[in-house]
Symmetry: C2
Subunit: 616 residues, 2 copies
């Protein structure tokens, strides 16, 4: 008899998970995409996954008794990685246990991939007659003939064990293959093998565990890219790699460790053994991929920013330091250019941009903004240094899109309203909040199209009083716009945007827009001809179309209905290439077909960029 599932409701999000009794609370949270920090890997030692069980709390474990005070335990505080669900539960998730949730939301329900008939790794049952007198054919030939399809490649480490392995398994079991290359023999007759798809973001790493056979998504995990401690954007990391002797090694180790940690968490969530993972597929921008692979990134820091590899890098996962099956294969996406990398190729693959009937554009918003234009079978790609402003960096009170970030700004009945991630007191402003605020201020004439924050005495008289009240001056007498007073804020410091902050936004949006316009020029297309504009990036899900248009983030003259948010297209593309050889070939073709445009060499670059800087 099967246990009935029980309901776990999470506050304040109201998300509801139905889980079997016995699962750990952290797993229930993962079911509904609540990404809970667990730097200790669920060992119960870091205490970062604290949650308050309002109803249905289990008795505390000894680990919890060590980590939490008696009054906390009495109030229902538990460690989500230690406590289990036994019946219906009501759980309050504190802000601190939700950091990163905003940016790394990836919809689990949409991430199942179709099973493919040409998976990069496949299994095949075999049964061979053991050698006997009169039939002394070599072991490898027996296996080859049983599997059919021609000569089999067997790597030396496996060949060394082959005689023993075949005999121990009585000449039957399952071969795990990539193409004609034998990766391992599983004694089990119906083993499941798994793949990992990874989006190596400059800021965020997202990993997904897939059933290699069915394409089912079994778990998803995200982490802050620990390389951020060496620099916020790719150029600062390249600089670190150039300047420090063991910089490249440190950068590589940091991200590889994080990925291994993530793989461990994925395996625990899905109850899968690391050694059953036979395929790791990675997509990232050119710098992230080269750093991950340990490839010299120095040329990416100087003109003309030429990458090392064009084609996909195929190797053993162990060569990258990944802790999965020792003969698992790794696949790192092909790249288009120094700043248009494997994540863009993955995005092209996932969105099928090249198959859109009519001119279409892919805009991937991240620390770099990548733009690809497709028309009449031709593909052009470029990247712009959208910069970290849209991720909250280089903004006076900027922060990433995590708990405490002002993510939404709107004027309702003449009053400014702000939305804060995690219903917490505001601690700063993230990219979408910055875009919203700029759009509102442009709407009411408080911010000029040239990006100038007007002084209170220059304002049009129809501006709402609440907005005018918030237009103040700093100690130097320069205008600032206050989103939250010091008294309302988490840290007792006003959350305000300065003239320089709007200039940063202007630069970021201008860069994205100029890139889009220049690609359109190049192709001789007007923006109103675009049939679709696909906006990708974890970030892209949260930008309000009207505000994005108001600040000129996207090309002008676009109908709203032509804009489609496609989420994390890089991860989606990594999933496809994890599941299909054909997708790998397509990725290679897309990368080679796409012409890489260096915007700075475009003749009217300066002019277009200057124009794009003006808010529409």
């Amino acid at each position: 008899m099967r246990d009935p599932e029980v309901l776990v409701r999470f506050r304040p999000s109201g998300r509801e998970a139905y889980v079997l009794p016995g699962v750990r609370l952290i797993e229930a949270a993962a079911e509904v995409d609540l990404i809970v920090p667990s730097p200790c890997g669920g060992e119960g030692t870091c205490g970062k996954c604290r949650m308050r069980v309002v109803a249905g709390a289990a008795a505390p474990t000894s680990m919890e008794k060590d980590r939490l005070a008696a009054d906390e335990l009495a109030a229902g505080w538990r460690l989500a990685c230690q406590t289990s669900v036994h019946g219906p539960m009501e759980v309050e998730v504190p802000t601190t246990s939700r950091s990163g949730e905003h940016q790394i939301l990836v919809r689990t329900e949409s991430s199942n991939v179709a099973a493919s008939d040409d998976p990069p790794v496949r299994t095949q049952r075999f049964e061979v007659a053991p050698p006997r007198r009169g039939d002394d054919a070599p072991d490898s030939l027996r296996l080859e003939q049983a599997l059919g399809g021609g000569p089999l490649e067997i790597d030396l480490p496996l060949l060394r064990e082959l005689p023993d392995r075949l005999r121990a398994a009585a000449y039957r079991g399952t071969a795990v293959l990539t193409g004609r290359r034998l990766l391992d023999l599983e004694p089990d007759e119906t083993p499941e093998v798994f793949a990992i798809a990874l989006d190596l973001g400059t800021t965020t790493l997202v990993g997904e565990l897939l059933n290699q056979r069915t394409g089912e998504s079994l778990a998803i995990e995200a982490r802050l890219n620990p390389q951020t401690r060496y620099g916020d954007d790719v150029l600062s990391r390249i600089l670190y790699a150039r300047q420090e002797d063991d910089g490249p090694k440190r950068l590589q180790q940091a991200v590889v460790e994080a990925v291994n940690d993530m793989i461990g968490a994925l395996c625990r969530k899905a109850d899968v053994l690391r050694r059953c993972i036979y395929n790791v597929t990675l997509a990232g921008n050119t710098t992230m991929q080269q750093l991950f692979c340990g490839v010299d990134v120095r040329p990416l820091g100087q003109l003309p920013f030429a990458p090392a590899a064009a084609r996909a890098t195929c190797c053993l996962a162990v060569e990258l330091g990944l802790d999965v099956h020792p003969r698992a294969i790794a696949y790192v996406m092909p790249v288009i250019g120094g700043f248009v990398g494997g994540d863009t190729v993955a995005g092209l693959l996932a969105t099928e941009l090249a198959d859109v009937d009519g001119p279409a554009m892919l805009v991937d918003i991240g620390t770099n903004g990548e733009i690809v234009l497709h028309t009449d079978g031709q593909l052009w790609a470029t990247s712009t240094a959208a910069g970290p402003a849209l991720e909250g960096a280089r903004i006076s009170c900027g922060m990433r899109g995590c708990a405490g970030a002002v993510e939404k700004v709107a004027t309702v009945d003449g009053q400014l309203r702000i939305g804060v991630i995690g219903d917490a007191p505001p601690a700063g402003v993230c990219g979408s909040g910055l875009i919203d605020a700029a759009a509102e201020l442009l709407r009411y004439g408080i911010l000029s199209p040239q990006g100038q924050l007007l002084a209170a005495d220059q304002l049009p008289c129809d501006a709402p009083v609440d907005l005018m009240r918030r237009l103040q001056v700093d100690r130097q007498g320069k205008p600032i716009f206050v989103l939250a007073e010091a008294s309302e804020s988490a840290e007792g410091r006003a959350i305000a945007l300065t003239q320089r902050d709007f200039r940063e936004l202007q630069l970021a949006a201008g860069a994205m827009r100029a890139g889009a316009i220049l690609l359109l020029h190049r192709a001789g297309i007007r923006s109103e001809q675009l049939r679709e504009v696909l906006v990708a990036g974890g970030f892209g899900n949260f930008i309000r179309r009207s505000n994005a248009e108001r600040i000129g983030l996207l090309p002008p003259q676009l109908e709203h209905r032509r804009i489609r948010f496609v989420g994390n297209a890089s991860l989606a593309g990594a999933r496809r290439t994890a599941m299909s050889q054909q997708a790998r070939q397509t990725a290679e073709q897309l990368a080679r077909r796409t012409e890489h445009i260096d915007l700075s060499t475009e003749p009217n670059f300066q002019e277009v960029f200057a124009d794009a800087m003006i808010f529409p």
Copy 2:
């Protein structure tokens, strides 16, 4: 102006080398295939390569002064690895500096291979425009386009360094490739790359250094296979591997170390750097190959003796522990069956047996005797435990074919004459001496066709008196045949052959002959139909056709002119596969085309074997 070459004459062999002044004496010896022991690798520390320079001695070096006494130096004793040739020289090579010479003679003049237009490793010059503004294509793509021919595979370790390497070399140099896989970049524009061909014999290892481009043989080296200390034949080594926990590892390390040592010596002889060797090609019997590769050999020790791998093993040389270029490729020949291995495939390739017009046979005489029959496009192969008797083992006074071995026995004017390798006092008898002795005794009726050594009173009256005199009895009163009296011998002990010795020979020759006959039966061919019988093995060079026929080593009814000695066919085949991809494909096809016959399953095996035991 070029220095004129000077003559170095070696005694007692009378071999003459013409060399340029300045070369070391050990190199001059190598020129004429005098294999001089140099376990210290020519460092001057072991003193094993002592030779007496009778005329033209150079002043002793300080190393020689350390190693040799003043009176020895005065008498002309030098270390061949230290002293140099300055003018014409007359050199006496003592027996101790010639050990192993007999067995491992390989003709240097015949070992140049034709340059092939499809070498496994090839070089290609390239020159690429460096990336510049407006041309930021990835490094790998630049290289790929410069080299032409489609996508290039670059292993991760090389890719990691690619940007730096290309820039350091100003985007020009030479690519070293295997197929479409890039092995390395050489900054030099006309680098030479080298290959090693190796014959992994059960008893003897022979290595040859080849210029990969021209096929020129640059040096040859031989060593006793150090695995012999774990057993004389393959079965005893398999037994050791089965019984000792780290047996396989010890066996592997022993032979890999010896090969690395040999490669070092080859490099010194030819003044080539180890890192310029990009290709190592190995041929050995199935057990030798599996032990070398670290592949489990246990199944080779039990019925039905099935090997692990059928096809060639292709890997990086470093995976085998070889100290050559870190990305050099290694190729281990495909095998036919458990006891018909890569050496036989190499022999088939080198002799082109399958191309002989009419039925033909290859007989490779070694510790195992391998026989291959070709007729009408069909190939059958078998092996027989010829056993170590033909290499002097299991013979009461047997020894390997090295200095002091009775290698030749003949009756001249009624007197028995023996030839001893190295003109030394006889110390034992080797295979060819044993065959000669048996043939002589059969000729005079002293040995019966049944292999019985007759008592003196049973002898026919026309037997030469000297032979009858040598027919004596041992302490147990059993008949023995004395080849050399105690007073004549090196060790003061008579060199005599016993009844049991002749039985061993009878078994060995019978096994070879039975194998040949059974293969002929299988193919429905009579031996007189054979157009050619190719006899391979270092050993094969020294067997006198008439005596081999007399004792029935080869199939009956063969005309002498049909017998051709082909020398070390295994090494010759390894050379071909080192030089040509096509040869590798042919080797693979030959291995798969050849039907492996287990003689013991042939219905009339016992009968044929019993018949073959009778001397013809």
